[in-house]
């Protein structure tokens, strides 16, 4: 079982909480023809962290670094949810039963499927438990 194949490289960037930072990032993606598949912003007092899943991860990272952003890769996993009541519950409960902590999470719900993106403390265990429970994980190349 190649658990690593389910790890998805998320691009995270540090941003000061001020007008124009998101626009700068988004413009860079436009210029490079990078499409955003999923996206979230976490904010603290005075700063924030923007997290994105994109089709061209490497290009996104390099372009943002070139623009002077503080940028990092982070491994996350993406679980396909049932797009109906209880879909999130099933996955969250599976991880809870395995005592795996979710550090942060965000989701999208499209016309063909709903996907929950997770950053967890023990990623390999998480993958194992999720697969054993019958859920499907999205691979990086499926974002292309």
């Amino acid at each position: 079982m190649e658990k690593e194949s389910y790890l998805i490289k998320q691009v995270s960037l540090f941003s000061e909480n001020k007008p124009g930072r998101l626009a700068t990032m988004a413009k860079a993606f436009l210029d490079e023809g990078i499409n955003i598949k999923a996206f979230s912003i976490a904010e603290a007092d005075g700063f924030g962290v923007i997290r994105v899943l994109v089709d061209k991860t490497r290009e996104a990272y390099d372009k943002l670094a070139e623009l002077g952003f503080n940028v990092a890769y982070t491994d996350v996993i993406a679980v396909i949810m049932r797009d109906e009541p209880g879909g999130l519950y099933e996955i969250a409960q599976t991880l809870a039963n395995a005592s795996i902590n979710i550090e942060y999470s965000y989701a999208y719900s499209g016309k063909d499927k709903a996907v929950l993106i997770l950053r967890v403390d023990h990623v390999e265990e998480a993958i194992e438990h999720i697969l054993n429970a019958g859920f499907n994980l999205v691979r990086q190349q499926e974002f292309l």
């Binding site: 995270s12 540090f14 941003s15 000061e16 603290a44 002077g68 952003f69 990092a72 950053r119």
Partner: protein, 433 residues
């Protein structure tokens, strides 16, 4: 231990004090008699040379400030006859009108002797090859070090500043053993050498650097010494006092101030009262033998502290710590004196942040509020918010321990804070607006 003039350098302190008193008494009589400026100042201040009966009577004399030099531009304070003068140096007027310093032949000689003692105390002597990479010209650094180095019998390479690649080639070809320059230029030389594929440590004979003329820190010394494989010695002096005059000895424990040339006071900048050894205050100097431009109780604006006790090298003259800031830079936050240099020093020890910072001060609910903005380094960036908050809290704690006043810290993106060429303006004080 190598002394240039063992009799003076190791003279018992009581003897030095006697000598200082005689020189001071002589100086105030001469100035009162022949200098209109000093006579008027002393009269306004209600003091007569007869009132100076001991060294501690120094405190009866009026202060002199940079502004006095500017107000008397170009030569209002110059004391000797024109025919006795042999040189002028002029300081740049970045913060006002320039100031002119005039030298008699004896002034140049005393300046040279002061540096000969200083350079000898760092272990340099005949046979050493000293590259002087301070600017030559109106600035005092280049010519001052040049004369001092020649006096001890060293070979001088007068490269002045600039054309760094050539400087590095000469350093190799002429087997340079010591360099005199600013700390930032020394780091620049190290970087340029690396780009040229030359290791200062392994590919040159450089082993000592005489470093000063701009603020630096112990952390910078550690970096210079380990990276370049040399010893770095702090040097002090300003053009008003002649130029660079004093340096650390091989013990690297504060620069030795030659008591026969200068009387040193360290005063609390608020109360003008002397502070104890080890306590920071403003350096106030009296040049006991200067002729062309006499200097009495001159407020240098430099913040330093006297080292307690006698140096392990055996020299009996007082030692001062590396400058830790300028009085003009001093901030008073909730009644506590804070220097931007303390913040710089603390940040240098925190690996998660870069060296650039900004300070913003405001008054919130009638209380002073200090905000320090720092850039988080790419290596320290975690995309988890609690990690970033933890880094910020750690910086706040370390700053509070250092400054004794609480500080708010804001994390900024790398490259987002202003960079300064020349004098940095890192403080935005909104309280006065």
């Amino acid at each position: 231990m190598q002394y240039w003039d063992p009799r003076i350098e190791t003279m018992p302190q009581e003897k030095l004090h006697e000598m200082q008193y005689r020189l001071l008494k002589n100086l105030v009589y001469r100035l009162y008699s022949f200098s209109p400026f000093y006579q008027q100042r002393m009269k306004e201040h209600g003091v007569h040379p007869d009132d100076i009966c001991s060294l501690s009577d120094m405190k009866k004399l009026p202060f002199m400030r940079k502004q006095d030099l500017r107000d008397n531009y170009p030569d209002g304070l110059i004391f000797y006859d024109h025919e006795e003068l042999v040189r002028y140096h002029v300081s740049s007027g970045t913060t006002g009108k320039p100031t002119v310093v005039a030298y008699t032949a004896r002034d140049i000689d005393n300046w040279t002797i002061s540096l000969a003692r200083a350079l000898s105390s760092t272990g340099l002597s005949r046979g050493d090859v000293i590259q002087v990479s301070y600017g030559y010209g109106l600035f005092t650094g280049g010519l001052g070090l040049h004369y001092g180095a020649e006096r001890i019998g060293a070979i001088v390479v007068p490269t002045s500043v600039g054309n760094t690649e050539r400087q590095i080639e000469l350093m190799q070809d002429l087997r340079v053993t010591a360099i005199a320059c600013t700390p930032s230029y020394l780091l620049h030389i190290g970087e340029v050498a690396e780009r040229m594929g030359i290791s200062i440590k392994d590919d040159t004979l450089l082993r000592k650097a005489i470093v000063g003329a701009e603020p630096w820190s112990e952390k910078m010394r550690e970096r210079i010494e380990s990276w370049l494989g040399i010893k770095a010695y702090d040097i002090y002096g300003t053009s008003e006092l002649s130029g660079p005059l004093f340096s650390e000895c091989e013990a690297q424990a504060g620069f030795h101030v030659w008591s026969d040339f200068m009387f040193t006071e360290i005063l609390d900048p608020d109360t003008d009262e002397p502070v104890l050894p080890g306590v920071k205050g403003e350096l106030v100097v009296t040049m006991l033998q200067k002729e062309g431009l006499p200097i009495i109780r001159y407020r240098t604006g430099d913040i330093t502290a006297m080292e307690a006790g006698i140096c392990s090298c055996g020299r009996t003259h007082p030692r001062l710590q590396r400058l830790s800031g300028r009085v003009d830079d001093m901030l008073i936050i909730r009644g506590i004196n804070v220097f931007p240099s303390q913040i710089e020093h603390t940040l240098l020890g925190i690996k998660e942040v870069g060296e650039h910072f900004m300070i913003e001060i405001d008054r919130v609910n009638s209380l002073d509020d200090m905000l320090v903005r720092v850039e988080i380094t790419p290596l320290a960036f975690s995309d988890k918010i609690p990690d970033l908050i933890h880094i910020r809290k750690n910086i706040e704690n370390q700053l509070k321990n250092q400054l004794n006043v609480s500080v708010r810290v804001e994390l900024a993106e790398p490259g987002s804070l202003p960079r300064f060429e020349g004098k940095a303006k890192r403080v935005i004080d909104k309280r006065s607006m």
